[in-house]
Symmetry: D2
Subunit: 360 residues, 4 copies
């Protein structure tokens, strides 16, 4: 039996960190060996550090309960005990960038949930099914930054997964999609804990203007081109998104309209493109890769967050209501699990791809 | 003091009927004098008929508690006691049409909340601020149908109010708007009681495909032209709408994108057109007409259903987040109270307009 | 026409403060003349200070929008402009006590929503229908504290209103009630804004242990005896309460069991005692006094927060499901509006009583 | 490898039926071999029958998708294909009794989720950890009814699990508990689909009077004595329960007060009794038996439905907030999963016990 790769988690006591521990329990490739959190938690065992704050529906995994919690920024223990870091430690943008670069410079590949480096020109925003080739920037990144074994990869905002993956499937099938409108109905766990006030979402929904910029910037970069040591965003892709917080625990829903340039394909053609799409993670049979990655349905009343978010163990996108539209041409509704595919799970799949490509 | 006009309510024991009673208590023009409901309720006093089913936040109005409930379809009492009927009695489409026509033929103007007659070519879907001139079809309607004093007017589906009114304000200011995309987040009371299952909307939202056709057909007719004895829908108006049920008690929210043909106006111009719009009900100072009818806000986190639905005593549309969009050109978010403006209140305003125009 | 009494509000920009402004608009006795809040808001007009934070369903009352906001602790302006202060400024307990005493010492009667002084032995926790006689401590309070015209009165925690009032009605009718068990299902607005995390109450309810001590301490003092210059709690009253936060916007619900000593009365006797109860505010016809103050119902499915909280304009207690119980003997369910009767409205009624008794 | 026992499900297309299929997928003892539902579904494959109605968060198990659906009441296929029936077919009480007796008479052991037979004197309400000895009535049942191999066992209402199990643990440890008060906050799935109206539980909670009788009758029988061919309820146990529907998807919460006769034990003694309790299913290591069956916590803010309902794969009771109470003496809060332990899961555990005791 192959030995597992030891991994670490920055921000291990927060909600995303807790989710990593659940998803990495019994993972075939990785095992959790290093945990770091804020000074407040450091120096205690993990079980002590999360007492009264553990918010998963199952207990702290046994292997993690006794691990010591290091302060974020501590390097020596990390280097000794792990070979890859998941970064879910959220603090000021500048400080986050510095922390992540410090670990990368010290020799550790870092897969980050934070937005801090997403728009850094030589750091990819990776969706393993969409832009796996963006990992090819790593040698350039190491050269420019002077890093030997470390590197830095981010995953996108949880809000864009539901529509970027289907749009990619359509583009991969040859349909030129440049204009997109979406309404993103975002779940509560997207804001962490405590996050949104209960008064905002009982008998109410609230606008989320701060999410709306990410909704087009990140896809432009994900669909961008790797040129030399930087990723050029695809500016010709135009996305307008209205984001609202809705009283759903997990599962972001997107109502999507899009135009196809040139010949207007039939709905059957689009359905085929969506339901048959397979990406590199599916080809490589990566442990966390769902197959199919787009669960297509013709049922009228689907997708629904509570019934569909766990599809593909939370890693698939559920897509339905594909129709023609008198404006732009087509529309569908899609949803994905924001804390699995959209956070810890998406980052784990990225780490699996890094391993498969030999970057660990 | 002028004597009030006696009015009747078909379907008086249902939720819309109950809402009529609350809104008509102390109305300056109308007083409730006739109540009709299904056979099950008929023959009892109103207070008895709604015992255990009254769902308003305040008690049964005193004047109504002792009124007898007639069976729907009973004509004689209606003719004797009232001069206008609000129809909120919901049954099969064919039967509803027959019932409403029977009362109209007997000489009573009928303002209907039902969808049954909305697409009948000589029956207007009236929004008093938008197409008050469609009432001019009444003489033609009476002629074709052979009715003397009765007539038939409908109000639109509760889901279209939030965007039809602002679109009209823009068109009235000279902006040619022909392409519209909306996501309609509909409140629970739109489905009546019991309506939606709680399991559909706790930690969940559900598609409402049945609402999506109304979302473009009704606006096309509202914006249509009166030609001879029929209303021609404006087919060149293209609206695509995605409708979902959200766990909000009252207040439908629409995220709206739209294109303006020709010169692209500034946001200030659009804001002016929206915030200064006044319609015939405002000019005539009709008792239920809100002024302003569009409550424009620049606040980032508004509109919100719980905070804004009661604006203008539930009769105004709250509109915010007006922005440019890289697709179609512009967008905003609007909301209106679905059981006030969108049901009983909208019908009462229509009745006030009928009275002002001399049709009672 | 009598001139209105000018009043002030400490903590005017918070949710309770906003509620005061709504409830005092068009009040027949009082008019708002002085507003104070934290340093952050001070120096601006009220409209500016609450921009983006106003959370009432109707706009800022016109009279208040232009008032200047003073910093809490400012005395001179308060003395000049008002004759009574409502204190809803929440900060550390010690500091709150000091602030309230400072205003009282300067000559202003203070009615406080804060818990800081509730257990101070010469400060009453007043429920106008229950212990109006506790106001008789004011002369003693002034003597001991050396205050001339100022005084200090508190209102109880919002969680105890639903059951203290009915228990008092029973005791007033001669039934000796000493053992009480309640489950208090508390609404979100009881925690202010932002208050409870949405993740705590979507598809969830959470224990509120911090409320459980107040649930018996405050009633013991409210039912206590005025002896000399202090109020002696009624220790023989035993109340055990389990408190939980539920996803209701406004309206605390209590499931109550109680024992009656001696002869066991019939349900009819208890119903009579509850439904006929009238207190001093009802006798004096104080402007905010609901009549009846206990709205008794025999309907099986009532009370319900959304349908009943606004009873008596939010000032009444709705009570139903009165039954015999095989344990303790009897039970009922009661609810009251926690931000009206339970906060600003209850304090306003107390102020009306102070005025009627000549303490202003 | 031992061959699995083929089992059948009456009412297989409803929500409880769907839950059985999920819980029995990969069950070590049982495999689903027979499905029956109403006439509407009969004659189709299971996958066809539930199309558009499947409400589980994961797909129809492969083994079940192709099974034919028989009409409830069909005997021959049942006898041929299975050796035990789970009955979740809900119709009129009389008819349900007849259906269940018909299958039992034909030779099949029936474990029922229905209330129809719960108060039949020779049919046990079984909670495997509490009254496993009540299965000893089966020989008497067979004798009186003239059944050879069939028998009839029910499981209790989902609302009583949370407190009956802890009360039993206390009684098993020698504490005499005869007086109990509970508030039961019941989840939505307890009412099936569509069940409760969304308007009842958004910004609201509603009384559930119909559940309150079950709350004491069923525990009296569960704690009753087997005498000859009938079970005598324990009348001296007095339970008063207030039941309300709350907007929680799964997980019933009970706030419980109880008196202990005689010496008043310390909280530590009670904690020990609760946390160490093991019943026959734990001793026999039945496949669905959770261990521990009572998950005791000292955390202040627990139990919470969303975080604790899945404890012990939905089969454990989570219990916390154990405290002294000035009334009755003690109190705690407990919760259990109403569709797992409280419905399909509890019945499966009962079937496992039947098998272990040789009744299949």
């Amino acid at each position: 039996m192959k030995r597992k790769i030891p991994v670490g988690i920055l921000g291990a006591t927060g909600m995303v960190g807790q989710n990593y521990l659940i998803l990495l329990r019994d993972h075939p490739l990785f095992e959790v060996a290093y945990l770091a959190a804020s000074e407040r938690s450091a120096g205690r065992s993990y079980a002590e550090a999360v007492e009264g704050r553990w918010r998963m529906g199952e207990p702290v995994p046994e292997g993690a309960a006794g691990l010591p919690v290091y302060p974020v920024g501590e390097i020596e223990g990390a280097l000794k005990s792990c070979r890859l870091l998941f970064s879910a430690f959220s603090t000021g943008k500048e400080e986050t960038r510095l922390i992540e670069r410090t670990y990368a410079a010290a020799g550790l590949p870092v897969v980050s949930n934070n937005s801090a480096h997403r728009l850094t020109d030589n750091v990819p925003i990776l969706m393993p099914e969409v832009n796996p080739d963006h990992l090819d920037i790593i040698p350039e990144q190491r050269k420019r930054e002077g890093w030997s074994r470390g590197c830095l990869v981010t995953k996108p905002n949880c809000g864009v997964q539901s529509y970027v993956l289907p749009l990619h499937a359509l583009r991969a099938a040859g349909f030129v999609v440049k204009e997109v409108i979406t309404t993103n109905l975002q779940a509560l766990s997207g804001a962490g804990y405590p996050g949104q006030s209960a008064l905002d979402v009982i008998d109410n929904i609230v606008p989320l203007p701060s999410e709306e910029e990410k909704a087009f910037c990140e896809p432009q970069k994900i669909f961008g081109a790797l040129t030399g040591d930087r990723i050029e965003p695809e500016d010709s892709l135009r996305i307008s998104s209205s984001c609202l917080r809705v009283p759903v625990v997990h599962g972001h829903t997107s109502c999507v309209w899009f135009a196809v340039e040139g010949r207007q394909p039939s709905l059957e053609e689009l359905e085929t493109a969506l339901s048959r799409f397979r990406g590199v993670p599916q080809e490589l049979r990566l442990p966390s890769a769902p197959d199919p990655v787009i669960r297509f349905t013709r049922e009228d009343l689907r997708p629904q967050p509570r019934l569909d978010r766990d599809g593909g163990r939370g890693m698939a996108v559920s897509l339905g209501r594909l129709q023609r539209s008198p404006v732009l041409g087509y529309r569908f509704t899609a949803l994905s699990h924001n804390t699995v595919r959209g956070a810890a799970g998406g980052a784990i799949l990225t780490a699996e791809l890094l391993e498969a490509k030999g970057y660990l």
